[in-house]
């Protein structure tokens, strides 16, 4: 049986106070002033509430308010809790595999969250951060690639609940950048085919996003669009300079290392470290 919390009068005051302030996640450093009106030591107050199941401890002085009548975090959408934990630290968005699943670009599901962050965090790097029982897998970038122009979107679940997510096209392009967080190769390549078929993939935008992520990603995106029959768009949108580099990109960044026998695409200067036939099969899958 799930635990239903019984709230004390003070617990109720804290939660009502948070709701008045449209706070879904309480942050000790930001909410201490008004919490001090209810208790001289806000930290102890929130810790005890979490111990009673009246709040959900997220770590780093952050506490989510449980769904009314239900202490179990499973009753809450986890994405806003992730937002509450990560957004104060800097740029972030829910992307890669988690975004593929949210955009229905895959039928698969995983019990962890995958994020791109623009800040350093030992806890994140160590893979030990959990939000509401969900492990957070991350990759960090120093590139300024968190803007809406580059496909990061705000998802609003309610007046108080929101989170950041990559849009479908950015999610697909990110798979060419960090496939290690995007699922098995067959999963995200199939997602490119599905994105094209269901018009969730915008080829022009994909080229723009890919350019912002570097020439190797741009060349991979060019070849991927070529394989999907949108090569003309790619050739028009991606400047020839992305192909001038002496360095040859591997199609699957985390795939097998380059070998002489692997097919080489001379236009995009990409080595197909997974055979073209296999990629075409995944892309062609009809659903």
């Amino acid at each position: 049986m799930g635990m239903s919390q019984s709230l004390t009068a003070r617990d109720a005051e804290v939660i009502v106070g948070a709701q008045r302030r449209r706070r879904n996640v309480l942050v000790l450093s930001e909410d201490s002033d008004w919490l001090r009106d209810l208790h001289p030591r806000p930290k102890d107050l929130l810790l005890r509430m979490a111990g009673r199941g009246a709040l959900i401890k997220l770590g780093a002085g952050r506490y989510a308010i449980p769904a009314f009548g239900h202490a179990d975090p499973a009753y809450k959408a986890w994405q806003p809790m992730l937002y509450g934990r990560l957004a104060p630290l800097g740029d972030y968005y829910l992307g890669f595999f988690s975004a593929l699943a949210e955009h229905r670009l895959t039928d698969l599901s995983e019990p962890f969250a995958t994020v791109l962050v623009g800040f350093g965090s030992r806890q994140l790097q160590s893979g030990k951060l959990e939000i509401a029982g969900r492990q957070v897998r991350s990759v960090r970038t120093r590139r300024p690639v968190f803007s809406s122009e580059l496909g990061a979107e705000v998802m609003r679940l309610s007046r108080a609940e929101m989170y950041m997510r990559s849009n479908p096209t950015r999610t697909l392009v990110d798979a060419l950048w960090h496939p290690e967080l995007s699922g098995d190769t067959e999963t995200w390549v199939t997602a490119w085919g599905r994105g094209m078929r269901y018009e969730q993939l915008d080829p022009v935008a994909a080229c723009g996003y890919a350019l912002a992520l570097g020439p190797a990603v741009a060349r991979r995106a060019g070849l991927m669009l070529d394989l999907l029959g949108a090569g003309e768009v790619a050739r028009a949108q991606l400047p020839s300079r992305v192909r001038r580099s002496d360095r040859i990109a591997l199609m699957i960044a985390d795939g097998p290392p380059a070998a002489e026998e692997m097919e080489f695409d001379p236009f995009w200067r990409v080595r197909l470290n997974v055979p073209r036939d296999r990629i075409e099969g995944w892309l062609l899958y009809g659903k």
Binding site: A74, Y75, P111, E186, T187, G281
Partner: protein
């Protein structure tokens, strides 16, 4: 609203779902809620005569589940039809409402001899979990059904009360499912197809080595040729992939699956969701394909 409700869940269904998921790392609550919505959709389609077995059958992951496969699909539902269905009749047939749940078919997308309703929105009123208002999809392929359907109990496999009545659903004949899976493996190369082939091969072994019966071999080979032929008609791209499948290549793709399947288990993604048990051991899967499927098709 329907007169006789399909669902008969208990008041603490959410707690039951949470407990079920806690015992199965990898499974999340919203998957289960969506799965229940899909089950209701299928029961409704059986009840209103759309999934009738004569013209339309259940196939894919949900049919495999009725054959006791532990694998589950988490978003899409698959059916197969002998003839092209009327989409608007289908849309009405999919939409359903009772006290505990409302299901509404949204836009449909036409593929190659394939109709997909995506999204089908649902409001699982019985639940307060995050996945209670969400969506799934349903595909209806009209690439033909060759064999007589098989009626099986809809085995949802949840340990808590779910449906008001036990229901039987018409599924594609398992031999035909196997033929479709083998062809899909050759053409597209997804791990789920390979695993399903092995599961169905294991089922043949359990049925007294049906795989060794000459008529079963003949049937499987005929079904495979039929399915390849249908794929050849679907699109030029598919036709060219079918045409590159020499007998030697077909054999190679089953024999040397590691050259074909994505071997990325090292990344820590499951790829396949299992409602019960864990992903089968790759060695066992390969052994079933080597010892059952290869002789079935090539000896």
């Amino acid at each position: 609203m329907a007169s006789e409700p399909i669902l008969a869940v208990e008041a603490n269904i959410d707690d039951q779902i949470i407990q079920f998921c806690k015992a199965r790392p990898g499974l999340i609550e919203e998957q289960v809620v969506r799965d229940i919505a899909r089950i209701v959709c299928i029961v409704n389609l059986v009840r209103n005569g759309t999934l009738d077995g004569k013209n339309t059958v259940l196939c894919g992951g949900m049919a495999m589940r009725c054959l006791d496969s532990p694998r589950m699909s988490v978003f899409d539902g698959d059916t197969s039809s002998r003839s092209e269905p009327d989409p608007e009749v289908l849309r009405d047939a999919i939409s359903y409402e009772e006290q505990e749940i409302a299901i509404k078919a949204g836009p449909l997308q036409h593929g190659d001899e394939l109709i997909t309703f995506r999204p089908i929105e649902y409001d699982a009123r019985f639940s307060e979990l995050p996945g209670a208002r969400d969506e799934f999809s349903l595909s209806i392929s009209h690439r033909g059904v060759e064999c007589t359907e098989l009626w099986r109990p809809l085995n949802h496999r949840y340990p808590f009360p779910l449906l008001a009545d036990d229901v039987e659903v018409p599924i594609m004949d398992p031999d035909e499912i196997m033929a479709e899976k083998i062809v899909a493996w050759w053409l597209f190369g997804h791990a789920k197809h390979y695993n399903d082939i092995a599961f169905l091969a294991g089922r043949m072994v359990q049925q007294g080595r049906r795989d060794r019966e000459p008529e079963v071999k003949t049937l499987m080979r005929r079904l495979i040729e039929k399915k390849l032929g249908r794929n050849r008609e679907v699109s030029a791209n598919l036709a060219s992939r079918v045409d590159t499948l020499s007998v030697a290549e077909r054999r190679r793709r089953l024999e040397q699956s590691e050259d074909h399947v994505d071997p990325d288990q090292r990344k820590g993604f499951n790829s396949l969701a299992y409602l019960h048990g864990s992903r089968p051991d790759r060695v066992d899967v390969d052994r079933l394909v080597q010892r059952v499927v290869l002789p079935l098709l090539f000896d």
